[in-house]
């Protein structure tokens, strides 16, 4: 994954070759649920998560799930 930058309109889903769209995506973890603005493939629904965000969430996951 790479940083998306501003021009997300130019990005395509690698699997479906569909242009991604911006809209509401549901983030959930355990019972934390939150709809936020995100970018997803209109065909398969895959949500784009930037590398930086992936790293942050991985770090939180490690904090929560391990001691």
């Amino acid at each position: 994954m790479a940083e998306m930058g501003e021009a997300w309109e130019e990005w395509y889903c690698f699997k479906c070759n569909e242009k991604v769209t911006e809209g509401e995506v549901q983030f959930s973890y355990l019972q934390f649920k939150k709809p936020v603005k995100g970018t997803r493939c209109p065909k398969c629904g895959a949500v784009f998560v930037s590398e930086e965000m992936g790293r942050k969430l991985r770090s939180i996951e490690e904090q929560i799930e391990d001691k």
């Binding site: 995506v25 983030f27 973890y29 355990l30 019972q31 934390f32 649920k33 939150k34 709809p35 936020v36 603005k37 995100g38 998560v49 930037s50 965000m53 942050k56 969430l57 939180i60 996951e61 490690e62 904090q63 929560i64 799930e65 391990d66 001691k67």
Partner: protein
């Protein structure tokens, strides 16, 4: 059947002697013989030998505490400083700020207030801080005693620690003064104290009559209310005594849930026999970790399960267990520990980070309403949510002169700071059958 050979101490003369960890029909025992003082056999684990050995999978070398370690002369446990052989890191550092106490409990690991009066002045305490800092870390710091809140200058003592970079300052307290003196409590908070490590043996007064000599439940509730008002966190610390409060383990968890998020965790401590205790303990007067875990599952009707808990990552994983839960929308606890995720950080560092995150005061529960914000807000909001909805449940059996396994002691990560040295908790407070100490005072 012998599961493992190790070394221990003679309860009478404190001499180092060979010991065996043996499986018998009803549990796992530490058996040892002193040529001068006879045979001793103490229960370690009321469960099968297999279940005892499974915890060894979590055993891990902690890499040592860092700093200036003492040379090995007589060997463990006589060279504490700690010595070069010590493998445990530092997850918590204790400082005894007073030996005075406003209670006289039948059971007290530090024998307060009978021990000779001693109260380090602020300069002596700063020297202790420097001893801890010399290890290269600023671990969670716990003021202990005696009853630390008997010192009117405790806020200044906390401020001095904050100035040196200690961020997670805890007070090990019975709560008696803090139930009444809210101005003092607020001053403690303003000077850097984050957590009360609150003696909390049960939810009814009959328990406190037995363990502490008087009714205390209303005092405990008042302290928790006060902490909620000023923004301090509370960790409930029950000493579990068979026949006295082992039937309240589930009710203590329910009590903790009612007081979330000001109550951040429950830390069960099966009774150990050092300092002051009524008489030489019989094995029937001991409760072991599998029994605490069984009680947790049974007395919460399966809301928390034995499989939700992990052993401590330490040289000997039998030192502790921990579970981490979030409160679901239906009011039930949900385990958040993963069986597959494993931290890459050193064990003591992982414990420090965990305590700093999940024992610290938390904002009030967030509403987490939908918003038009992007994903960037998720990590902070998720952490806030978890902090506001989480409860840790953990347990730690300290070692006394009857059940001490010196190999396990080498992995200890809780250290008491004394002048120029750090002494592992169980070595520091250990007393012989005659009350003789290895280090303490």
């Amino acid at each position: 059947m012998v599961l493992r050979k190790t070394q221990s101490l003679c309860p009478v003369c404190l001499g180092k002697i060979d010991a065996e960890i043996v499986e018998e029909e009803d549990g796992v025992y530490l058996a040892k013989t002193c040529l001068d003082h006879g045979n001793f056999k103490t229960v370690l684990w009321r469960g099968s030998g297999d279940s005892f050995l499974i915890w060894d999978r979590y055993a891990e070398n902690g890499g040592g505490p860092g700093g200036d370690l003492s040379e090995i002369k007589k060997g463990c446990p006589y060279d504490c400083g700690p010595c070069l052989a010590h493998t445990g890191g530092i997850c918590v550092a204790l400082i005894e700020v007073t030996h005075r106490c406003n209670m006289r409990c039948p059971i007290c690991f530090s024998s307060s207030p009978e021990v000779p009066a001693f109260e380090p002045d602020i300069e002596a305490i700063k020297r202790l801080y420097r001893t801890i800092l010399a290890t290269g870390t600023t671990p969670p710091l716990q003021f202990s005693g005696g009853e630390p809140t008997l010192r009117d200058d405790l806020p200044e003592i906390a401020a001095a620690a904050s100035d040196l970079g200690f961020e997670m300052i805890q007070i090990n307290t019975n709560g008696v003064r803090l139930a009444e003196d809210t101005r003092y409590l607020l001053k403690l908070k303003e000077n850097g104290v984050k957590i009360l490590y609150l003696q909390f043996d049960g939810v009814t007064d009959d328990v406190y009559y037995a363990t502490r000599g008087g009714p205390l439940i209303n005092t405990k509730i008042k302290v928790i209310e006060n902490c909620s008002n000023v923004g301090l966190a509370v960790v409930l610390v029950p000493t579990i005594v068979p026949g006295i409060n082992d039937s309240q383990i589930g009710r203590i968890v329910q009590f903790a849930k009612q007081w979330m998020p000001v109550v951040r965790g429950v830390h069960f401590q099966p009774i150990s026999y050092f300092g002051r205790y009524p008489q030489v303990p019989d094995n029937r007067e001991r409760i072991t970790l599998p029994e605490v875990l069984n009680a947790l599952e049974k007395q919460t009707d399966g809301e928390v399960r034995i499989s939700d808990f992990k052993p401590r990552r330490s040289k000997d994983a039998h030192c502790a267990f921990a579970g981490f839960f979030v409160l679901g929308d239906d009011g039930a606890l949900i385990s958040a520990f993963s069986p597959v995720v494993r931290s890459t950080s050193k064990p003591a560092a992982a414990v420090r980070r965990f305590l700093e995150t999940y024992w610290s005061p938390t904002p009030r529960r967030c509403s987490c309403q939908p918003c038009s914000c992007g994903m960037d807000s998720i990590p902070d909001e998720l952490l806030n949510w978890v902090q506001a909805h989480s409860l840790t449940i953990s347990g730690m059996p300290f070692q006394d002169v009857w059940n001490i396994d010196l190999e396990r002691l080498e992995g200890c990560c809780i250290h008491v700071a004394t002048d120029g040295s750090l002494v592992p908790f169980c070595a520091y407070y250990l007393t012989s059958i005659r009350g003789k100490r290895l280090y303490h005072r």
